[in-house]
């Protein structure tokens, strides 16, 4: 299925101050990465690379986010962020909860991530969940290229929290369909074909008796 792998064009450079991400979950994503970083210098460089637009097109798929990053020295390098897909149990938990509370789906459709869902299962990366990888010669974790990618992913998540769900294993369509099935009451759908053919048909009503009120 093609929408399991989604590509996004490279961001142009951004200037300006203020928080790097706009939404609470975008900031939580940045925070998670910063909390696990070992080398603050690489983080700073990564943030500069991200802001300067040195990261190429980004690909998001279950368990994997990747991009190439330019580097003044001898790039480009290919950076990948690995993160664990949610277990089937976690997905069940998440979808059951969302299905019980129409507001969660409404929020997601409005491109908001309900905090309650993020608290329920590990959607946002915890310590060590985000596993950076890069073919650059440096051996810092994350290196500045992976850090730059990670910073820009926060921008993608700002715009569409469904990408977080994709990275955790399910596409938007899969989530919506699943929720649709879960919320539809378990009542019989339609009428039985056999009964429809078996019943005695009443006559058609008199057309002359149907005179709609003029609006």
């Amino acid at each position: 299925m093609t929408d399991r792998v989604r590509g996004f064009p490279a961001f142009p450079g951004r200037s300006g101050r203020g928080p790097f991400a706009r939404t609470w979950w975008g900031r939580a994503w940045v925070q998670a990465m910063e909390d696990t970083a070992l080398d603050l210098r690489q983080l700073r460089r990564g943030r500069q690379y991200a802001a300067a637009g040195l990261v190429g097109p980004i690909t998001v798929s279950p368990g994997r986010i990747s991009a190439t990053a330019e580097d003044a020295d001898d790039g480009p390098f290919h950076a990948v962020l690995h993160l664990a897909e949610l277990s089937t149990t976690d997905w069940e938990l998440l979808l059951d909860r969302a299905a019980d509370h129409a507001g969660h789906l409404a929020a997601l459709l409005d491109r908001h991530l309900p905090p309650e869902l993020a608290d329920l299962v590990p959607l946002l990366p915890g310590i060590g969940d985000l596993d950076p990888d890069c073919d650059c010669p440096g051996w810092e974790l994350p290196c500045r290229h992976a850090a730059a990618l990670s910073f820009q992913v926060a921008w993608l998540l700002d715009a569409d929290p469904f990408l977080l769900l994709l990275a955790r294993g399910r596409t938007e369509a899969e989530v919506l369909d699943d929720l649709g099935r879960r919320t539809a009451p378990r009542v019989s759908v339609g009428v039985s074909a056999a009964e429809a053919y078996a019943r005695e048909l009443p006559p058609l009503p008199d057309p002359a008796a149907f005179t709609p009120r003029r609006r």
Binding site: A99, D100, H101, A102, G103, L105, A106, A107, L109, D110, L176, D177, G180, R182, T183, A184, P185, V187, S188, V189, G190, V191, S192, A193, A194, A196, Y197, L201, P202, P203, L204, P205, P207, A209, F210, T211, P212, R213, R214, R215
Partner: protein, 837 residues
């Protein structure tokens, strides 16, 4: 046409198929459809046709397979709904018929199974509604609304049920949508509710359930919904039909009828202005209002019904008294039926004598018998004008009669004077119209005293009813004696002259006291609201409020094309402004094809001095000669006097740059006439015997920015034809013609006015000229104005010709030279200027 195969419907289209699995005939895109037959599910060939085309096919086909007959009837129902302007919710009786229809849906008509359920068919009623929505082309936008239900009104328990229409669903409850509807529609509903809940948080609990189907509401929330909490969210609220709202309106309480209505409206008495609440048409009693004011709940029991009570209405029940109105303000709001209270436009009613007055003022005037003493037969519309004037002047109010020129405003006003029988009446008019007024009063109201307060004759002594005529200039310069008289009627003729309410003239006019004021004008004043305000604020002070307020309340909305504002303004003005046009269907048939009016004007001082000197000098020459020489001098005398009456510049042969304005009574009147005629978009022929005068008029009109053209004996034929074309096409509204040059073959039927600037003595020649305009093919009535200078040879020669039949005949054949047959004494009597005493 062939009968139809079996039919199932899909969103946006209709599918034709055959139960035997054969390929269906007819139009449409060929494909397949999955259907359930008694023996099980099968995929069969199908043709798909978009709904709009399919509706025509179905309705035209002569029956066929039962499913086709069914959908044909459904298509018919859909078309009827669309024709009725159906947009969503259905009435109960409509629903009942449609449910009956759905119940009669044969199995083949919904044989296409529910996706993922090969043994189940779609529910009949929702499928039918979706098809009807398709047929009626309902808006595809999904709209969410709340239907408030109450199982127990007494306990005030309300439940808001979420319902959805638009999209593929004409109208379903969210509950139903979540069972069978489309996922995209559900998502739109969720988003709409989320956004509405951001603006009105009490909706949020809807979103904590799995399906946002319904929500219990507390009193507080019901009150907020009543107050419009969801306005602007796009989510509409439908209240239960058994609950009614109260109607709030404001009422003017006029109290006991004042003894003297006339002084009442001019005085500073105020009238009580209250809120009134009604249930349907029944006014609530004071006790009921008190109960409402005390109510703590948004639903109250009133007259065995449950009534919704929003905060605003409850406040109005508590604070019932509004700011009192002045008498004239009260009349204004009673007439418009609306008032602005605290930023809301509310309905206004009144009762008692004020309501009687409002009804009388708003009704069409009924004809009254014409007053005894009027020496004329009033036409039907003039009688209606008289009744109208009587209706408004009766209670001491005033108004503006703005009929087209030629409809007889003067005679109507004279009739009003006679009808009221009191007097005195003061008429203020431009100086050029004093003569017309005087001659019309003498003609139509013989025996009624009339005097001028103008120039050297300014006496108001022994005033006993009757008419006093004065000019705007005199009122401005010498208002005191006029202000000392208690006038019955005060009339401002050509009232557009006082459109600037800050001018000295307007102020002086306001200082004059009278029982009632009438403005007359022939120009379409209603086109300029400020002008109209100035006139009506004089006739009926206070009715329209201050100018700035009037502009804000009416000017802007009316100019921006707000039909409700225009209608209210017209309700307010209608009683005080009567304007009829010559072309009105009720008027035109009453008008004679040709009306002739003598227009007497005075000489200016310059003209009078010149006239008298010329009479002295030339009469001496006449007396001193005889035979052929005397004959020549008589003609010279008459010609000189006629030219002086026309304009001093003509007689004196002044150069082309000499000043013209303010020197001739006739020219002043011509200017006034042209202003009115051109304001009516009319066209006019001006005849004179003298090419020099025609040139002079052309120069004068050009200076005033009025397009005119001149035709005289020397005008070449081709140019003549071009001039006629330009006049007939309306390019040039004023055509100056020398009487002799007019010749034959001119067709000038566009003219609705003819002015004879000077007298020809020979009616036949004048008639011939007039007939240039009034001919077969003329569809408009023609008005003929003959300008006559008072007290001069022009004025009296007609009298003499009437008296001396033989002389008249010789003038007819020989022209004015025949007047040389008169004796010196007779001649002197004819030409000597008679100063108007």
């Amino acid at each position: 046409m062939e009968t139809l195969d079996a039919v199932v419907v899909e969103p946006g289209g209709v599918v034709f198929w055959r139960p035997d699995g054969g390929e269906p005939a007819g139009p449409g895109r060929l494909g397949t459809v999955e259907v359930v037959l008694p023996e099980g599910a099968r995929t069969v060939p199908a043709r798909r046709v978009p709904t709009a085309e399919a509706v025509a096919l179905l309705r035209e086909a002569p029956g066929g397979q039962p499913s086709a007959v069914f959908w044909a009837l459904a298509a018919e129902a859909g078309v009827r709904l669309a024709d009725a302007g159906w947009t969503g919710p259905l009435d109960p009786d409509e629903q009942e018929w449609l449910r009956e229809l759905a119940d009669a849906m044969p199995p083949q008509a919904h044989a296409s199974p529910v996706p993922g359920h090969p043994d189940r068919l779609p529910e009949r009623y929702p499928l039918l509604l979706r098809f009807l929505g398709d047929v009626a082309g309902l808006e595809p936008d999904v709209r969410v609304s709340l239907r408030l239900e109450s199982g127990d009104l007494a306990a005030g328990r309300f439940r808001a049920v979420v319902q959805v229409h638009g999209g593929a669903e004409p109208l379903v409850d969210a509950e139903q949508l979540w069972c069978s509807g489309e996922q995209d529609t559900r998502h739109e509903v969720l988003l709409a509710l989320r956004h509405a809940a951001e603006l009105w948080p009490p909706l949020a609990p809807l979103l904590s359930a799995a399906i946002p189907s319904s929500l219990p509401l507390g009193d507080e929330e019901v009150a907020e919904l009543l107050g419009g909490a969801l306005d602007g969210t796009g989510v509409a609220v439908h209240w239960p039909a058994e609950l009614t709202g109260l109607t709030a309106r404001a009422v003017v309480r006029p109290g006991i009828e004042p003894g003297d209505v006339r002084t009442f409206f001019g005085g500073d008495r105020v009238l009580q202005f209250d809120w009134q609440l009604a249930l349907g048409d029944v006014e609530l009693t004071k006790e009921e209002l008190d109960a409402l004011a005390e109510a703590r709940r948004p639903v109250v029991r009133l007259r065995d019904r449950w009534v919704l009570l929003d905060r605003k209405t409850a406040d109005r029940a508590r604070d019932r008294e509004l700011k009192p109105l002045t008498a004239i303000e009260a009349l204004g709001v009673a007439l418009t039926g609306r008032a602005e209270v605290g930023g809301d436009h509310v309905e206004v009613r009144t009762d008692g004598w004020l309501e009687d007055l409002r009804a009388r003022l708003s009704a069409d005037p009924e004809p009254v018998p014409q007053p005894a003493g009027l020496a004329a037969h009033l036409r039907d519309y003039q009688l209606r004008g008289l009744q109208w004037l009587d209706t408004i002047t009766g209670p001491g109010l005033g108004g503006c009669l703005a009929d087209d020129m030629g409809l007889g405003k003067t005679i109507t006003l004279i009739a009003l004077h006679l009808h009221r029988g009191t007097g005195p009446t003061l008429v203020v008019c431009p100086a050029s119209l004093l003569g017309t007024w005087e001659s019309e009063i003498r003609r139509f109201a013989p025996g009624v005293p009339v005097r001028r307060f103008h120039g050297s004759s300014r006496s108001l002594a022994d005033l006993d009813g009757g008419f006093v005529l004065t000019t705007y200039g005199t009122v401005r310069a010498d208002p005191a004696p006029l202000a000392a008289v208690a006038w019955d009627l005060l009339v401002a003729d050509e009232a557009q002259h006082v459109k600037n309410h800050r001018s000295e003239t307007a102020k002086a006019l306001r200082s004059l006291g009278s029982t009632a004021r009438i403005a007359l004008t022939g120009t379409p004043v209603e086109n300029t609201l400020t002008e109209l305000w100035a006139i009506l604020d004089w006739t009926t002070p206070g009715l329209l409020g201050p100018l700035a307020e009037f502009r804000t309340r009416w000017g802007k909305p009316v100019e921006s094309g707000d039909p409700a504002a225009a209608e209210q303004l017209s309700r307010l003005l209608r009683p005080f402004l009567l304007r009829r046009r010559k072309s009105d269907p009720g008027i035109a048939p009453e008008l004679p094809a040709k009306t002739e009016t003598d227009r007497p004007v005075s000489l200016t001082t310059e003209q009078a001095v010149l006239y008298e000197a010329t009479v002295r000098e030339l009469m001496a020459e006449v007396a001193a000669s005889d035979g052929i020489a005397r004959r020549g001098r008589v003609v010279k005398l008459l010609t000189a006097l006629k030219q002086i009456c026309n304009h001093p510049a003509q007689y004196l042969g002044e150069p082309d740059d000499s000043p013209l304005a303010g020197r001739s009574g006739k020219l002043e009147l011509l200017d006034d006439l042209l202003d009115t005629i051109l304001a009516e978009d009319g066209a006019v022929l001006v005849f004179t015997q003298y090419v020099t005068l025609a040139r002079l008029l052309e120069r004068h009109l050009t200076g005033r920015g009025i397009r005119s053209q001149l035709l005289h004996g020397g005008t070449p034929v081709t140019r003549r034809e071009e001039q006629v074309r330009r006049f007939q096409s309306g390019e040039v509204p004023v055509f100056l013609l020398s009487l002799k040059a007019a010749g034959t073959g001119l067709t000038l039927t566009r003219a609705d006015h003819v002015v004879h600037y000077d007298r020809w003595w020979n009616p036949a020649v004048e008639d011939q000229a007039t007939d240039r305009a009034y001919r077969i093919g003329q569809t408009k009535p023609v008005q003929v104005h003959r300008l006559v200078t008072e007290g001069t040879v022009e004025d009296r020669i007609a009298v003499m010709l009437r008296e001396k039949r033989a002389l008249a005949d010789s003038v007819l054949t020989a022209g004015e030279a025949a007047l040389s047959e008169l004796t010196d004494a007779e001649l002197a009597d004819l030409v000597t200027l008679r100063r108007n005493a």
